[in-house]
């Protein structure tokens, strides 16, 4: 592989700034186009705005949309309106891909942007960008086929599907834009912006079909996302404030040495852990994935949860010398949480019936393994440089394989014209790769094993191998559920069964990209001459044959276990998924949440009535005061009327007193 460790296209390096702007602005422009399309179609919905079809619209707001497409303004069935997912829309991540492949290393300083923008492209970012943009592109292409029926309905004039599609066309590139921004951002504000933009723009993608389940999934997604954002904000504010940091590297340095660095680190770990599916914070994954449209699930699981990992890598003082000792504890917690997640998710996941729910649990499990590896960065800082490249490879491997698996779920529901053996081989390949049996999976596993052994973490290596047994079980269950679903779903005449349609092609390429990852990954990473390239060559090598038994036993064990479990539990299996519903802890927590909300509501009402009572008390006192004044006035009246009488009485009294006193002692002689 050493011959590949050259910069990709070393002669064709374009300037960074235009590429960066193009990568970020192109998706933004495309979503703007969808937004304008939505505005126009809304205008058309309203009866008072309808006009003869051959008469051009003259409303200023409506004009910009159609012009870039050079289509007659008057046609209500103009393509961009009724088929929003067109070829232009698919091209959203292409500039980002170009940036990853052609962009030179460097950084960009934007003084006017937020609190000072600082965007950077280095090797880590290039790798993440490359696989993210690739999966986004493939999933977008796949979406074009996935929504073909809905597009046809929209073109036939169905308003609801049209507005749903427009919404999808609007938020998909927006989510992409957030994802790309968070990858290239080096200043904290841009990073947080990218993260938030991605998180919140993905919500409409999750609830796309508007069903009850989709709403539950969306709610779980949103609630967890907001909680995560809160923790991230707290961690970022605290850390950045302590070190007056504006960039992520300054933040890492601050965290490493600050007094309360551990707590900032904990907040950031948990906050990003929501996205990365750390056990306990993973609740949204199995609820949101099955309900989201398949291409959205693919990017959610393949790319977006990696944003959590990116968050950890960018903010935690991983592999830094002189890190505060207390971080050791955090590292241990991360390690334990990661391993627990890897196993618990596998166990819960095999009980699921929906293949996408199984895949979601598999993502939780895989991210648990990644989290355990990240923890090594805190526990054994010396071995971090070797591990971090591997971690990126693992992330890219999981992202692409999981993407291919998710896309495969749609393929098994609506199979193209392929011989069954070929179809199923292709469906099984990424599953095998994820289980570590071939392709990128095997290399990732071998690399991890070597790196961990070099770091003296044989125990962790063993536990991770054991977790792969769980992965194998999950993969077997996914494929089995897909097989069963494929049997139930008889292909109808309306299905597009062409092999060269968008869906199968995008899926095929994603399978290929996932399997060939080792080839092009090191080719991309080779851009870093010197330090990395030398080590890379060794790291992404295929394992020697002698090492294979040590790598493949979990697969064998997993297959045996799945056969045994599948056979022995065949009677309870259907009920199992009712007992262990997807979303596990979400349901009791949601119950508690509702109860708490009712309690809080009553408390707030109590507060309001307390306040009202307080005001009423004062008003009553005021009334008392006024009444007192009235009494005074009345007394004065009475006094005025009775004055003469009173004076007379006083005079008489005085006289009486005088007389009495005169009696007692003689006044005059």
């Amino acid at each position: 592989m050493t011959e590949l460790s050259l910069a990709p296209f070393p002669l064709l390096r374009l300037p960074l700034a235009p590429l960066l702007f193009a990568a970020l602005l192109w998706p933004l422009l495309l979503s703007l186009r969808a937004a304008l399309g939505a505005t126009i179609s809304l205008g058309q919905l309203r009866p008072h705005l309808s006009r003869p079809l051959n008469q051009p619209l003259n409303q200023p707001l409506n004009q910009p949309l159609n012009q870039p497409l050079n289509q007659p303004l008057s046609q209500p069935s103009s393509r961009s309106l009724h088929r929003p997912l067109d070829w232009l829309w698919i091209s959203a991540p292409l500039p980002a891909l170009a940036l990853a492949v052609l962009g030179p290393d460097g950084s960009l300083w934007l003084e006017a942007w937020l609190l000072g923008g600082y965007w950077e492209l280095d090797d880590q970012r290039r790798l993440l960008l490359a696989f993210s943009a690739l999966l986004w592109g493939l999933a977008g292409w796949y979406a074009r086929g996935y929504f073909a029926a809905e597009q046809a309905q929209a073109a036939a004039g169905d308003r609801d599907s049209r507005s749903r599609l427009l919404r999808f066309a609007l938020f998909w590139p927006l989510t992409l834009c957030g994802n790309l921004l968070l990858l290239v951002a080096e200043d904290i504000a841009s990073f947080y912006l990218g993260f938030a933009l991605m998180t919140f723009s993905a919500y409409p993608l999750v609830i796309h079909n508007g069903s009850r389940e989709a709403r539950t999934g969306g709610l779980a997604y949103l609630v967890m996302a907001v909680l995560g954002e809160g923790m991230i904000l707290a961690g970022l504010l605290w850390g950045a404030g302590t070190g007056s940091a504006l960039t992520l590297s300054e933040l890492r340095a601050t965290l490493a040495t600050a007094d309360m660095g551990l707590w900032m680190g904990l907040l950031l770990w948990l906050g990003f852990g929501v996205k990365a599916g750390v056990i306990g914070l993973h609740l949204w994954l199995p609820l949101a994935h099955p309900v989201a449209p398949t291409p959205a699930s693919a990017v959610l699981s393949g790319v977006m949860i990696k944003a959590g990992l990116v968050g950890w890598l960018s903010t935690l003082p991983l592999g830094m010398a002189g890190v505060d000792q207390s971080f050791h504890g955090l590292g241990l917690a991360m390690l334990v949480a990661g391993l627990v997640g890897a196993f618990a998710a596998a166990l819960w996941g095999v009980a699921q019936r929906h293949p996408k729910a199984v895949l979601a649990y598999s993502s939780v499990s895989q991210m648990g393994m990644l989290a355990a590896l990240v923890a090594i960065g805190l526990l054994k800082p010396d071995s971090w440089p070797a591990l971090s490249v591997l971690l990126l490879f693992f992330a890219a491997h999981h992202g692409l394989s999981k993407g291919a698996l998710f896309l495969g779920v749609g393929i098994s529901e609506q199979p193209p014209r392929l011989p069954a053996w070929l179809l199923w081989t292709l469906l099984i390949l990424p599953a095998l790769s994820l289980a570590g049996a071939l392709g990128s999976g095997l290399i990732a596993k071998w690399g991890t094993k070597k790196a961990l052994e070099a770091a003296g973490e044989e125990t962790l290596a063993f536990w991770l191998s054991l977790a792969t047994v769980g992965t194998t079980l999950l993969m077997a269950q996914t494929l089995w559920r897909q097989w069963r679903q494929g049997l139930q779903h008889a292909p109808t005449a309306t299905d597009d069964r062409r092999l060269l349609a968008s869906m199968p092609l995008a899926w095929l390429i994603s399978v290929l990209a996932a399997l060939s990852l080792p080839l092009w990954f090191s080719w991309l990473a080779g851009g870093i001459e010197g330090v990395l390239s030398g080590r890379l060559a060794g790291r992404f090598a295929w394992p020697p044959l002698s090492a294979l038994p040590a790598l493949l036993w979990p697969l064998g064990l997993g297959l045996l276990l799945s056969l045994a479990l599948g056979w022995s539990l065949r009677r309870v299996a259907p009920r199992l998924s009712d007992w262990l519903p997807a979303g596990d802890l979400w349901w009791p927590l949601a119950f508690c949440g509702r109860w708490l909300w009712r309690l809080a509501r009553r408390l707030l009402q109590g507060l309001a009535s307390l306040q009202a009572a307080w005001v009423a008390w004062w008003v009553a006192r005021e009334g008392d005061g006024l009444a007192g004044l009235d009494t005074l006035t009345r007394a004065e009246d009475w006094l005025r009327r009775q004055l003469a009488l009173l004076l007379l009485a006083v005079a008489l009294m005085l006289a009486a007193v005088l007389l009495l006193s005169a009696k007692s002692r003689l006044l005059w002689p």
Binding site: L115, V226, A240, R601, L604, Q611
Partner: protein
């Protein structure tokens, strides 16, 4: 007398007169003179904006603008232009322009417009007077004028509910004015006629005056706190919601609530001086009060079923960010407070414009009637979304900048617990704004053929009248741009930084 020094007296007076004279002329015009009144209103608003920008440029160039004449021996009426005052003046003149445009559309064909616009101008004139006042006495005069000129606006509709709310408003603010006057007189007795910026006078009084000064500080804060709606003095604000939408917008974003907050800003920075306030130990108290208000306001907002009261409680919570920033000793806290003074105005005015649009166009008052409004009124809903996300503190909107600077200031002031308050407020804001956004955009409603709007107006070319739509869009755009391009020289953040450099760091 050179031309420059002549200008120095003319400009502040002209700025003040641009609204005061408008008010007088409007009162003299007949009720039917709609066009003249509209033209006059818009022209005055534009002139005032130009004058304020002129003064801002002059101030940057080092000009001095001040007017003063004695009222009685030892007490003078002072107008002086400094960076701090111009911050507030700029906000009020910018938003006055938008609110005037909005009010013209909102009150189309309704009775008593002469009275409304007359008091409206008077209200803005008093806001401007507050911002340009050079000592507590002048501030107090305009502060009371503000109280009196907003009363007819709150009571404008004349319904029993409106009259009751206006009465409550008057009670709160008049008694606060009394408290303020007592405090001011006491300060006058202690230290003589004290100009804003003469911070050394109080500090020089010696240790025996300290208990007095602390007491007077809280007395004056009590007086300003009523208008700034600090808990537990906020009771009037949610009730004043019955006022017409432009009035609510003005009340919440610029005039009344901000006048209170600005009073506290002046009190801390220009009367006591931030360093002296810190040494008196009163700032910590401010932080605690502000924190309580932030959380309490958000909690109460969560429980509201109607849109405008929810926004009102949100104001209670958000305005306290300013007070919080003041209380955080250090330049970052001050930057946060001043920037948020502007930011909150932009966001809140947008939200109220949109709430008014929903009420006018579709008759919507309750939150559960908002289902699917995004399809019927996409642009208003977009503006509302921007405002709401800004309130939550989502980047790249202005709210994020405020929150960020506050967090930095909190750490700088060694009060990291304030971050917990900020995050709690973010979560609560999300909890009460995100469901609204969800209803607007993602729930099917009458626009999808389910049910009907409470009271839909006859459809117009745009989703609603352009007079109502454009101001909302403009302020939404401004709150987006001011956050996105916070690094530009005249953005609120940079201006606030400049104020801090100019007035704060100097002794």
């Amino acid at each position: 007398m050179s031309a420059a020094s002549a200008m120095s007296a003319v400009l502040p007076l002209a700025t003040l007169a641009s609204s005061l004279l408008t008010a007088a002329v409007i009162f003299m015009l007949p009720e039917q003179a709609v066009r003249t009144r509209t033209a006059l209103n818009l022209a005055a608003a534009l002139i005032k904006l130009v004058l304020v920008i002129w003064m801002a440029r002059g101030l940057v160039a080092g000009e001095v603008y001040a007017v003063e004449f004695p009222v009685v021996e030892g007490l003078s009426f002072v107008l002086q232009v400094d960076e701090l005052g111009l911050t507030f003046a700029g906000l009020s003149s910018l938003l006055w322009l938008f609110t005037t445009i909005y009010a013209i559309g909102y009150l189309e064909d309704s009775p008593n417009r002469r009275r409304f616009f007359g008091f409206f101008s008077l209200c803005v004139a008093s806001t401007l007077g507050i911002s340009l006042a050079g000592n507590l006495f002048t501030l107090l005069i305009f502060y009371e004028l503000l109280t009196l000129s907003t009363y007819p606006l709150v009571a404008h509709r004349g319904t029993p509910q409106a009259l009751a709310a206006a009465t409550v408003y008057l009670r709160y603010t008049l008694s606060a004015g009394l408290v303020l006057m007592i405090g001011m007189v006491a300060l006058q007795v202690l230290a003589g006629d004290l100009r804003f910026g003469q911070r050394e006078l109080l500090a020089a009084l010696g240790p025996e005056a300290r208990p007095w000064l602390i007491g007077l500080f809280w007395l004056l804060t009590l007086g300003f706190g009523v208008k700034a709606a600090l808990v537990p003095l906020h009771g009037w604000l949610p009730r004043a919601m019955v006022a017409p939408a432009p009035v609510s917008a003005l009340l919440h974003a610029v005039a009344v609530v901000k006048a209170g907050a600005f009073g506290i800003v002046r009190l801390v920075y220009d009367v006591y001086g931030i360093g002296f306030s810190a040494s008196l130990g009163v700032l910590d108290g401010l932080v605690v009060i502000a924190s309580v208000t932030i959380v309490y306001g958000s909690l109460r907002a969560l429980a509201q079923q109607e849109l405008k009261p929810r926004l009102a409680y949100s104001t209670v919570s958000q305005v306290s960010y300013i007070v919080l920033g003041i209380g955080l000793f250090g330049p970052l806290g001050t930057i946060a407070a001043l920037a948020h003074l502007l930011h909150q105005g932009l966001m809140k005015v947008t939200l109220f414009f949109c709430a008014g649009n929903y009420a006018e166009e579709l008759g919507i008052h309750r939150i559960d009637e908002l289902d699917g409004v995004g399809r019927r009124m996409p642009l208003s809903s977009l503006a509302f979304t921007i405002g709401a996300l800004g309130m939550i503190g989502m980047p790249p909107l202005v709210g994020f900048i405020s929150k960020w600077m506050l967090g930095m200031g909190a750490v700088q002031a060694e009060m990291p617990w304030v971050i917990a308050v900020l995050v709690a407020s973010t979560l609560l804001n999300a909890a009460y704004f995100l469901p609204i956004l969800n209803r607007l955009w993602f729930r099917p409603g009458p626009a999808h053929g389910i049910g009907t709007w409470p009271a839909e107006r006859a459809p117009s070319r745009l989703e609603t009248s352009a007079w109502l739509l454009l101001p909302a869009l403009a302020t939404a755009l401004l709150s987006l741009l001011a956050g996105m391009l916070a690094g530009l020289p005249f953005s609120p953040l940079q201006w606030a930084t400049r104020v801090v450099e100019q007035t704060y760091l100097m002794p």
